[in-house]
């Protein structure tokens, strides 16, 4: 095949060889110089070899998970010099978690925001927070009218009400649908989680979420050593690497072990309620049965597991008769339907 040799090759003189050689070396040199910033990377910040080879959460057996947890503990030690205990806590069957938030009570103190950050090892620099509290003018539920950055010497302001927004743990979540690598999914107990070691950081889920509930680690998160929460779990509050998504997990490392979410525990006015909606005796089940409950952006079809409600005008245990006898209550207006019922008696 090579009978048609080109004459060009034979014509290479020493001079042109040197010139070409210099050009090649200069080109390669420029290429290497351009890549120099990569030299400053610590491979451990990117998970090292073990992190690179680690399987997807759902594909790991007990042995794989144990190795992953030990790697995570070592990584926390390396990054923060903290001895952490990492666990993988599984959901309990027959449990579906639901959150309910009483808008009549919330005073907008933002204690939940900061308790969440402390519990879940969010980045302090740059600041990442899962809960956003809106200060709403009375007379509207349009969240575009809310003030995200209110700063008052004391709360509540009597002309406003307060609306905290966090992940709604949707039953029909747009965020998990769009993930190209299944790095985020909904657990059987209704909590949508992220495998921080699987996420490729495309941020499509962040664009898809109608509640702006997802956060991205634009750089390696920083947490002061003394503020690191050492009780960590794989799917929730372990310190995150750079370049991955994170979100509220209903504090699953607490709630799956029978405790309450950090945001609820810190709430000074009892505006936050949490529990298993499949248990009819649970407080959240009762709230859903008896209160004036609504979900945010019902029209986008996400079926949130996060409900807002207002207190009734009368005590919850009051019967229809006792309500009518109560002073200061508007009179009961008999409807046509009611009259019919009476007539049929």
């Amino acid at each position: 095949m090579s009978t048609t040799q080109t004459p060009v090759k034979k014509n290479i003189s020493r001079r042109s060889f040197l010139r070409t050689g210099t050009q090649v070396v200069a080109g390669m040199g420029a290429f290497v110089a351009a890549l120099k910033p990569l030299a400053s990377i610590d491979p451990d910040d990117f998970g090292g070899v073990q992190g690179f080879l680690q399987k997807h959460y759902k594909e790991m057996d007990d042995e794989d998970m144990d190795a992953a947890l030990r790697r995570i503990e070592a990584d926390v030690k390396r990054r923060f010099d903290v001895d952490a205990v990492a666990k993988d806590i599984k959901p309990t069957t027959g449990v579906e978690f639901v959150y309910a938030l009483n808008l009549s009570r919330c005073v907008g103190c933002r204690k939940c925001v900061h308790a969440c950050v402390a519990e879940n090892n969010q980045s302090r620099s740059p600041e990442i927070q899962y809960i956003r509290v809106l200060e709403m003018p009375k007379g509207t539920l349009d969240i575009e009218k809310g003030n995200h950055h209110y700063d008052r010497p004391s709360v509540p302001d009597l002309d406003h009400f307060y609306m905290p927004i966090q992940c709604h743990q949707c039953a029909n979540p747009p965020c998990t649908k769009v993930c190209p690598v299944e790095a985020t999914w909904t657990e059987p107990d209704g909590i949508t989680v992220v495998d921080y070691d699987w996420c490729i950081g495309c941020r499509y889920c962040e664009a898809a979420c109608p509640y702006w509930a997802r956060r991205f680690n634009f750089t390696t998160p920083e947490i002061p050593k003394e503020e690191v929460n050492p009780e960590i779990s794989y799917l929730s509050n372990r310190p995150r690497p750079q370049g991955v998504m994170e979100k509220c997990t209903f504090c699953l490392h607490r709630t799956r072990e029978g405790k309450l979410p950090a945001c609820l525990e810190v709430c000074p006015v009892g505006a936050r309620k949490f529990g298993n909606v499949l248990d009819p005796e649970s407080e959240v089940a009762q709230i859903l049965r008896t209160k004036r409950v609504f979900v945010l952006k019902e029209e986008v079809g996400t079926l949130p597991r996060f409900f807002y409600y207002f207190d009734e005008r009368y005590p919850r245990d009051a019967s229809q008769d006792s309500y009518e006898e109560m002073p200061d209550m508007p009179g009961v207006i008999r409807t046509h339907g009611g009259a019919k019922e009476e007539a049929s008696k």
Binding site: A30, I128, V178, I200, G201, G243
Partner: protein, 406 residues
């Protein structure tokens, strides 16, 4: 096989030869590309914090350029359709330039997507757990890579045959040409579905988005081809038939008209209804609550597109100078319309009503310029080696003299 590698080696060597203008052009592009590579390396080390993106505006210039370039790639087939469906054989060889553009544009798309990833080191996860068919992004991965291979095959085969002075066997490329025509529509439709499928973003959640994408792409892509063909005609020995420019011009005219019409439809629906969902559109066109960074951009885009439309509908379109100015105006106009006019305002205000504006950083801009330079470099090389092959100056038996031309 050996002959094939020799062909590649000859092409590789050929890409370093040319007159001083060619060499200067290549040198400038290489330098910009290297600066871009350097900026990207900084981004890998420091994270996407080196960009202007935030949790509020979580996609920016990278995704905007990606979207624009998907359109450029798709539009390359607008040369294919007249040739293979309407049997306009005069343009036969020009198809290859369109397909080379598609190859370069898709390569740039893939580079922009990689630049946008927070963890490109985990790209292999796409192969290990591919969320298909649920995630539209996985569809995009399939159609873009498929389109790249289709076009590589078609023009690679045709050029290889020309190199071997053989007549290409129809069976080896005609079926792929027809697949590529439909595939081209699919790449831009799927890319539009990436955005229009998001119920939480009313600005994107519109059925007209995919048709608008296609219309604007079929205006911008052929405009770029017109410019390329004019440059090839001027700087190389290759003869560009007049008919090619005329065909492309009529395609551009129709596409740009439809694009402007669809934009009007969108604007009417948003503003006449005047619901809360129009917040992003208000921000884009008029400014909202004192925020108005994008207003000058969108009006510049509309002015440029209107100017191009006027040129296309008046006799000055026949003058090369006017036509090329209109093409440049249109490319810039549509680039703004897709980026500043579509991707960024979709994030402002956020779904829960916060107003945060987006301003790209210097590093991010350098990465973008670098990718553009790399793409143009690739396109220049592809065109550079294709022309002598097509004109019969470089074949298996004849080595193209590497002396200067023009």
């Amino acid at each position: 096989m050996k002959e094939y590698f020799r062909f590649l080696w000859r092409c590789f060597r050929l890409s370093f030869h040319g007159n001083w203008m060619y060499k200067t052009w290549m040198l400038i592009l290489s330098v910009i590309a290297l600066f871009g590579l350097n900026a990207w390396a900084k981004q890998i080390a420091g994270g996407l914090a080196t960009t202007g993106m935030t949790d509020q505006v979580s996609w920016g210039l990278y995704i905007a350029n990606f979207t624009f370039l998907v359109g450029m790639a798709a539009a390359a087939v607008m040369l294919v359709i007249p040739v293979y469906i309407y049997k306009n054989h005069e343009l036969h060889d020009l198809v290859i330039f369109g397909e080379l553009l598609a190859v370069s544009a898709v390569t740039m798309c893939l580079m922009f997507i990689t630049a946008d990833l927070g963890r490109p080191d985990r790209a292999s996860h796409l192969l290990l757990r591919f969320n298909w068919p649920i995630s539209v992004l996985t569809w995009d991965v399939i159609v873009l890579n498929g389109y790249l291979f289709l076009n590589l095959h078609i023009c690679g085969y045709l050029i290889w045959c020309a190199y071997n002075e053989r007549k290409p066997a129809r069976i080896f490329y005609i079926p792929f040409v027809f697949i590529a025509i439909f595939w081209a529509i699919s790449i831009h439709t799927v890319t539009a579905f990436l955005y229009s499928g998001l119920g939480g973003r009313p600005f994107w959640n519109s059925a007209v988005l995919a048709p608008r994408f296609l219309a604007s792409a079929f205006a911008a892509g052929p405009s770029f081809l017109v410019l390329t063909l004019l440059l090839i005609g001027r700087f190389t020995a290759y003869e560009i038939p007049k008919k090619a420019i005329a065909t492309l011009r009529s395609i551009i005219t129709v596409a740009l008209t439809i694009n402007m019409f669809l934009l009007g439809c969108e604007v009417f629906t948003e503003f006449y209804t005047d619901s809360a969902h129009a917040a992003s559109a208000k921000y884009l066109f008029l400014g909202l609550n004192g925020y108005s960074a994008l207003v000058p951009w969108i009006w510049t885009a509309i002015s440029l597109n209107t100017f191009a439309l006027i040129v296309l509908y008046t006799p000055v379109r026949l003058r090369t100078g006017w036509m090329s100015t209109a093409c440049v105006a249109m490319i810039i106009g549509i680039w703004i319309e897709k980026g500043m006019g579509l991707i960024v305002p979709g994030f402002i205000p956020t779904p829960i009503g916060e107003m945060v504006e987006y301003l790209p950083t210097q590093n991010e801009t350098l990465v973008c310029l670098g990718i553009w330079a790399a793409g143009l470099l690739l396109y220049t090389i592809l065109v550079r080696v294709t022309i002598p092959v097509l004109t019969g100056k470089l074949t298996r038996t004849r080595l193209y003299s590497t002396g200067d031309e023009s």
